[in-house]
């Protein structure tokens, strides 16, 4: 009884406190609102559509009229003879992204940071992030023109130096290197922006002190710059892992052909050719749903690891 009374008294006080707090910060809440609405309208409400992955969805009948089929689409996916290969391809490309692409912007940012002439620094920074604004169609076309065996500059060069021509575009061995190099070329410069900003925030007194103690450039980078941006690196790493399966549908689809399909087919391209192109909405949704689940598991694992390492993580 007594407890209830206490709680009843406490409740209105807490409520008024909260509304007071909201009123005090109303502009902050107003600023949050558009972002909140964005996620609600474009990210949460569409999740309703996931229902169709458990249905035999017929557009004509709509979600309410379509037949329920339970896990049939998922069963079909797991029974697909190519399923394991496609999953492995996806994870391999993801692994290569982490291993080869992820460190590049950090290295670039460190290098740019050491450039002392302001003009050069700005010039190169602009130059290396320009490719980010090109579409994959253009980048893949440039790749084709350079690498084709029928008069491509790279192969002509190889031939003139006495080497055999290499079939870059059609050989399964070259698909992954080609993919990752194009990713690095397009995205690495853009990725440096955040790191450069983080580096700019490092207290310059630390460097002065280090110099007094006789630390060289490399020592300064190792003992001051890198530890200072460590948390930024980890946050970006966790976010990157969250995007695990966003490998760039367009990019892979454009590079894909009959000769490299067994290494190049990833979940995204599979969804497109086996599902969307043939109007199999339920199956496509089921595959996409599965992909999101993998992403969720990975990001949770990565976040837990980050916390174990004493960092804040993303949530």
């Amino acid at each position: 009884m007594q407890e209830a009374v206490v709680r009843a008294q406490a409740a209105p006080r807490a409520g008024s406190e909260r509304s007071k707090r909201i009123r005090r910060n109303k502009w902050l809440y107003a600023m949050v609102l558009p972002g909140f609405l964005y996620f609600l309208v474009f990210k949460y409400i569409p999740m309703y559509g996931l229902i169709i992955s458990f249905q035999d969805y017929k557009p004509f009948q709509g979600i309410s009229g379509s037949k329920w089929v339970g896990f049939a689409h998922f069963e079909r996916l797991f029974a697909e003879p190519d399923f394991l290969r496609i999953l492995l391809n996806t994870l391999t490309l993801f692994g290569m992204n982490l291993l080869f692409y992820f460190p590049v912007p950090i290295l670039l940012a460190l290098m740019l940071n050491e450039v002392r002439i302001g003009f050069f620094k700005r010039f190169f920074q602009t130059l290396i992030y320009l490719p980010h604004f090109m579409s994959w169609v253009i980048i893949v076309s440039i790749g084709y023109v350079m690498l084709t065996m029928d008069g491509g500059i790279v192969n002509e060069l190889l031939e003139s130096m006495g080497f055999e021509k290499i079939n870059f575009l059609l050989s399964p061995e070259w698909f992954r290197p080609m993919y990752i190099i194009q990713v690095i070329w397009r995205e690495a410069g853009w990725g440096t922006i955040i790191y450069l900003a983080a580096i700019a925030s490092v207290d310059t007194q630390l460097y002065e002190a280090a110099r007094m103690d006789g630390a060289g450039r490399l020592r300064q980078i190792w003992h001051i710059t890198l530890p200072a941006i460590r948390s930024v690196i980890i946050v970006l790493l966790v976010l990157k892992i969250g995007d695990v399966l966003e490998l760039g549908f367009e990019h892979v689809y454009l590079l894909l052909n009959s000769m490299n399909r067994h290494v190049a087919e990833i979940i995204d391209t599979y969804v497109y050719t086996a599902g969307l192109q043939q109007g199999k909405f339920s199956y496509s949704t089921a595959v996409g749903f599965f992909k999101s689940l993998i992403g969720l598991v990975l990001v949770m694992t990565a976040n837990r690891l980050a916390k174990k390492m004493g960092e804040e993580g993303v949530y």
């Binding site: 569409p46 559509g49 017929k58 557009p59 004509f60 003879p81 084709y144 084709t148 065996m149 029928d150 008069g151 021509k165 079939n167 575009l169 059609l170 853009w190 922006i193 955040i194 450069l196 900003a197 983080a198 700019a200 925030s201 490092v202 207290d203 200072a228 930024v232 976010l239 995007d243 966003e246 760039g248 549908f249 367009e250 689809y253 052909n257 009959s258 000769m259 399909r261 067994h262 995204d268 969804v271 497109y272 050719t273 086996a274 599902g275 969307l276 192109q277 043939q278 109007g279 909405f281 496509s284 949704t285 996409g288």
Partner: protein, 521 residues
């Protein structure tokens, strides 16, 4: 951390994250189904506008039309307003780029926003649409056909090819049965003393000569024979295979229908291309070459042979003489295979069809109104307007044929978009045949007529197989991949047979069974 620095860092993080989100959406555009349907749902929103009450006969009927666009820009209203006047209609055209038309079609189907008259893209999309047709989403128009004198002129054989379970749902856009042939550099052949090829061996010999004997006379080994692309059907392969005696899609073997790749001629045809590629007498990267790049090799003066539609010779010639003013082209067909027999594959007489969704066309009266528009489209005045354009502006009449104006860009921009939607063909809708000036094209037209006599049809064109509709295209990917791998020497005959076995075990056996059951009926 200095205060200024941390503000900067915060701003950069937010900026970076926003950019990251935007980038993410960018990718999703093609990948995630929900984003895609959401985006396109709004586009054809005005689709169901054709609900004007047909009360007074003078009031123009409102009709919406959805169709693929094969040019870069949406055409202006020049032709549309003329057609509206001629047919007493108010037309709303919704053009969507042909490259992504299937997606648009599926999305519009899913959201019930198709137009009154919905064109598909080609025969392959028609096969995909069959399950939706069977679900009863489109009007069956067979029973209404005899009320429309012009529509009933359409060729019965072609209409039969477009039937689903024996019922007619669509009108077809006609195309000559067999335009496939060879386009080659006559100036090179003359220089090297080669006659027009008559057998597949002649074609191979010509490719060899074009590669080795320096036909352009610059003393450098910079020419090849054949230029091909990553398309087994409309590229060189299927045409070459049909010359070699491979059936068109499906053929009869021991009294049973079997897919083309089960025939020894299919293997022999792959061997021909493999031999050409191994000898560097064709472009080495053809499995990754787009049509644009394929044509560039030809119009740039590197390659001397092109196997595909002979109607392409006009545009090939136009671009080639810009680079090589002395070049002369000719067309050739009726090529004999190793056993001396002439054969060539034929399309089922249509290039595309138009369907009438029940979600847009609400009742019979409305359907008749829409069909009446198509009936009028099949009169010479309207068909000519939509196919050739405005007389005097886009074409002139010579010898009772239409001669396209020299201003090709104008025609391309204003007329091309409508041209691909004209129902029927000159014999049935009374429009002009084309008047050509390029000798190679005239020759090509003659050969097209000759081709019809030796044309091989696809026996399954009018047959149905539920498994094929459901899985056929996905399974075909196995065969396509294996065919390229065979031609590139990655797998041998045993490896190819293994792919065929996979095809069979994953559903191919059922397709064979179903087609044969339908064939026997």
């Amino acid at each position: 951390m200095s205060k200024k620095g941390s503000v900067l860092l915060g701003a950069a993080l937010i900026f970076g994250l926003l950019a990251g989100c935007a980038g993410g959406n960018d990718n999703e555009g093609g990948a995630s189904p929900s984003a895609d349907t959401g985006g396109s749902a709004s586009a054809p929103a005005g689709a169901s506008a054709g609900s004007a009450a047909p009360s007074s006969p003078d009031k123009p009927a409102e009709i919406t039309v959805m169709l693929p666009l094969n040019t870069a820009e949406t055409p202006p209203d020049t032709i549309k307003s003329e057609v509206e006047k001629l047919t007493n209609t108010k037309l709303t055209y919704q053009f969507f780029p042909a490259d992504t038309y299937e997606e648009k079609l599926n999305a519009s189907l899913a959201t019930g926003s198709l137009a009154d008259a919905t064109y598909l893209k080609n025969q392959a999309t028609f096969i995909q649409m069959k399950s939706a047709i069977r679900d009863g989403q489109f009007w069956e128009i067979g029973p209404y056909m005899d009320q429309f004198p012009n529509l009933s002129k359409l060729k019965k054989q072609v209409l039969d090819n477009t039937k689903v379970d024996g019922k007619l749902y669509s009108l077809y856009v006609g195309r000559p049965l067999a335009r496939q042939g060879l386009v080659y550099r006559k100036d090179w052949a003359d220089k090297l003393g080669l006659k027009a090829p008559e057998t597949v061996d002649d074609v191979v010999a010509m490719a060899k000569a074009f590669t080795e004997q320096d036909p352009d006379g610059d003393g450098k080994p910079n020419t090849i024979g054949l230029t091909d692309r990553n398309d087994l059907i409309y590229g060189a392969f299927k045409t070459l295979a049909s010359w070699m005696g491979t059936p068109n899609g499906w053929g009869e073997k021991d009294g049973q229908l079997q897919p083309d790749f089960a025939f020894p001629q299919y293997i022999a045809s792959m061997d021909v291309l493999k031999q050409l590629r191994d000898a560097k007498e064709m472009n080495q990267d053809f499995a990754a070459t787009s049509k644009t790049d394929q044509i560039k090799l030809f119009t740039g003066g590197q390659a001397g042979l092109y196997i595909g539609s002979m109607a392409d010779v006009d545009s090939l010639n136009k671009d080639l003489i810009k680079n090589v003013p002395t070049a002369v082209l000719d067309t050739q067909a009726l090529i004999k295979g190793p056993d001396g027999i002439q054969a060539t594959w034929a399309i089922p007489g249509y290039n595309n069809v138009v369907l009438f969704p029940k979600s847009a066309v609400k009742d019979e009266a409305e359907l008749k109104q829409v069909l009446a528009f198509f009936d009028k489209m099949m009169t010479p005045e309207v068909a000519n307007m939509m196919y050739w354009g405005v007389e005097g502006t886009h074409y002139t009449v010579e010898d009772g044929k239409a001669k396209a104006s020299d201003n090709q860009e104008l025609t391309e921009r204003e007329v091309k978009g409508f041209r691909d939607s004209v129902i029927g063909e000159p014999e049935t809708n009374g429009m002009y045949e084309g008047y050509f000036t390029l000798p190679a094209r005239i020759h090509g037209e003659e050969l097209t007529a000759e081709n019809e006599k030796i044309a091989v049809n696809d026996p399954t064109a009018a047959l149905d197989s539920a498994t094929y509709t459901e899985q056929g295209e996905e399974l075909q990917k196995l065969i396509t991949d294996a065919s390229y791998q065979y031609m590139y020497g990655k797998i041998d005959k045993a490896g190819f047979d293994k792919a065929v076995e996979q095809w069979k075990s994953r559903g191919g056996d059922k397709i064979i069974e179903e087609f044969n059951a339908a064939y026997k009926k």
